[in-house]
Symmetry: C2
């Protein structure tokens, strides 16, 4: 996992001729590393401490009704680019793009001790970038908001399934961050107390909100952050 | 797109040595076809008539709280295998596996004139298979239900994004089938009127239900099918 392979510049040419290039999930690792990693982990899920970030474009279905396909693609492309730039800059992995939503993981495979902090800062930067996103609907510009949810803890990551399989993260941490994202208002980053403890000094005045989340028995105390 | 390449049996060996094998999205097409297809379509979305099927495990978040990771993986693996077998048998493409949900497309890239019918039959078969899924929680078996939504019409398919990109289907047909899936009760296949017209003779007594779906202005008249 730690063989240095040039993935940019002239030294990368022979590698690129062999098909070894930047990974799509994180351009700072190569496809060989990704493949080796997938093989090692195949049918062998690993449990790793990580921070999970979900982000989603609010009102996507509603404004999809107003727009034609090239406009929707344009909007999603912009969103994906913004996600890529802020998440990769902090060594996060984009595990899934799901229409108007993304799932990113921090501390895997590139490790950072302060992964909750990296995820929160990426979330705040994403809100800043997306704050400028506008939906052009004929005469008026409609602002587009995104909601973000972040939780941290042990996740299970690897291949699920046999003939029909997928490389993904699963577990309670993934579910809770997804549900928190669903509860976030446009412009908000909702984080759990476990995450807040690691970033409290950056956001000393963060308000708290008690969230009742579908499928999660106990109410969750979330901290609300803004860009 | 129509070069026959052996992907199974002894004739497939030289191709497999070159890395050409069955596609993961549909094992009846090869990875070469998939790559060529991706290249052709890169940055060039195509509009195609297709049928979209969403399926999702009901109560996944709730029972994830009760189970440990190997149990969740076991359940998801079973679900993915069931999806693969019924969807591929009818030449559908599994475009996305999203935790407990899947997005499948019929009539692309393998065309079938009766794609709405193929999708509905795959949905019914999936309900039959998943009807036997049980969640083992210590002493008692908890039945696991899935919900399915199906709609048909023109979809836009191709790569979205640049550095951070994804091969996916988008558009109103995708959104509506996703929302219908959300409205389906465990065991139900909810289909739109456009789909029902193509399968009416198979389900002459299907009940209808008016659904108010998030983000979709007008109420939708859905037909409810059971396995």
């Amino acid at each position: 996992m730690h063989v240095p392979i040039p993935i940019r510049g002239p030294f990368s040419i022979p590698f690129r001729m062999l098909g070894i290039k930047s990974s799509r999930m994180n351009p700072n690792i190569c496809t060989l590393c990704e493949t080796m990693f997938r093989r090692i982990k195949k049918k062998k899920q690993v449990i790793v401490p990580a921070t999970v970030l979900f982000a989603d474009v609010r009102g996507y279905t509603s404004f999809s009704e107003l727009l034609d396909s090239p406009q929707i693609i344009n909007l999603l492309s912009g969103f994906y680019e913004d996600c890529g730039s802020v998440i990769w800059a902090r060594d996060g992995l984009i595990n899934k793009l799901i229409g108007d939503a993304i799932l990113a993981i921090f501390n895997f495979p590139i490790e950072h001790e302060d992964h909750p902090r990296q995820a929160v800062l990426a979330g705040i930067e994403l809100q800043k970038k997306c704050g400028e996103m506008k939906l052009i609907d004929g005469l008026k510009d409609i602002p587009v908001g995104i909601g973000i949810g972040i939780h941290t803890g042990d996740i299970s990551i690897g291949e699920v399934g046999e003939a029909c399989r997928d490389f993904t993260a699963i577990g309670k941490v993934v579910n809770l961050s997804s549900r928190l994202q669903g509860a976030a208002m446009p412009g908000e980053v909702l984080i759990t107390e476990d995450v807040y403890r690691q970033v409290a000094e950056l956001f000393p005045k963060a308000e708290t909100r008690v969230c009742h989340l579908k499928g999660i028995e106990k109410p969750v105390s979330a901290y609300v952050l803004h860009a």
